[in-house]
């Protein structure tokens, strides 16, 4: 990672992972919110496994960044916010699969899903958008100039 091309390569993989994640999970969330009526929920959900792959790529490269320069991350308020929203997105996802996913899979393509599913979809979309923005802002809140705001 300290080689000239290591960091940019890891960043590029990180970006690709996030694009796959948004293109699959984000599109499925938008479908639950009512965009693209007529597309089958169950079929569109098959894209989500690619999103999980993208997420795993991001976790791997993210851990690579974190372990290479930990002080630049753990004291970074943008990174801390990003981790908080990842927790929110994770809990939201668990809640979805524990309660609403079977009902959504069984819903016909022409119908809308329940309001609980729509709330989950909205929380998911907003959290991932905040995560992306906070990720971009990491480099502008590097310690010690912006030392942990709430420490």
């Amino acid at each position: 990672m300290n080689s000239p091309w290591g960091w940019p390569t890891a960043e590029s993989i990180h970006f690709l992972g996030l694009c796959v994640l948004i293109g699959t999970v984000g599109v499925f969330d938008l479908r639950m919110l009512g965009f693209g009526q007529g597309i089958s929920y169950e079929d569109l959900h098959k894209l989500v496994k690619f999103g999980v792959g993208g997420y795993l790529l991001n976790v791997t490269t993210g851990i690579m960044f974190l372990t290479t320069a930990p002080d630049q991350y753990i004291y970074n308020p943008a990174f801390q916010t990003k981790m908080l929203f990842m927790l929110i997105a994770g809990i939201n996802m668990l809640w979805f699969y524990a309660t609403t996913s079977n009902q959504v899979k069984g819903t016909d393509a022409a119908l809308a899903v329940s309001s609980r599913a729509k709330i989950i979809a909205l929380v998911s979309l907003i959290s991932w958008s905040v995560i992306i923005v906070c990720g971009r802002l990491i480099t502008y809140f590097r310690p010690p100039y912006h030392w942990c705001l709430w420490c």
């Binding site: 000239p4 960091w7 940019p8 960043e11 590029s12 970006f15 690709l16 996030l18 694009c19 796959v20 994640l21 948004i22 293109g23 699959t24 984000g26 599109v27 938008l30 965009f35 693209g36 009526q37 007529g38 597309i39 089958s40 079929d43 569109l44 098959k46 894209l47 690619f50 393509a109 992306i132």
Partner: protein
């Protein structure tokens, strides 16, 4: 970026056949979101270019990114037109798969070239060097 590339990736995956063949005609709404994302990308790109023009325009990687991005968007527009007018079946399946695969490769190239821009420039401003 995530909206543009993500939606293109989702459609490409569907066209290559790695996911079940769900109906593509309702995808128009997603294309609207895609083009909104493309406008945001273009406007923010112009903003970034106006901030450091010499840094970008003297960097060949920038031209590579721009070429990959333009061709990727052209392919997206072409695919949208074929989907909207139900002309996808006019083409051989192998050709559609090849175009979808090309689209994926171009977007990966655009993102990687874009990321490497920050590390490969030789000047910062036209009037002075690093």
């Amino acid at each position: 970026m995530a909206i543009v590339v993500g939606i293109n990736l989702a459609i490409a995956l569907r066209l290559i056949g790695w996911v079940p063949q769900f109906h593509l005609s309702p995808f128009n709404r997603f294309y609207q979101i895609h083009w909104f994302g493309a406008i945001v990308v273009l406007l923010s790109g112009i903003g970034l270019l106006l901030a450091y023009p010499a840094k970008a325009l003297t960097n060949p990687v920038f031209y590579l990114k721009f070429a990959a991005l333009s061709i990727g968007l052209l392919i997206a527009a072409w695919l949208q037109k074929q989907i909207q007018s139900n002309r996808l079946t006019n083409f051989a399946p192998a050709k559609i798969k090849a175009i979808a695969a090309l689209s994926i490769v171009l977007w990966i190239l655009a993102i990687t070239a874009g990321r490497f821009l920050a590390y490969t420039n030789s000047v910062l401003l036209a009037s002075r060097f690093f």
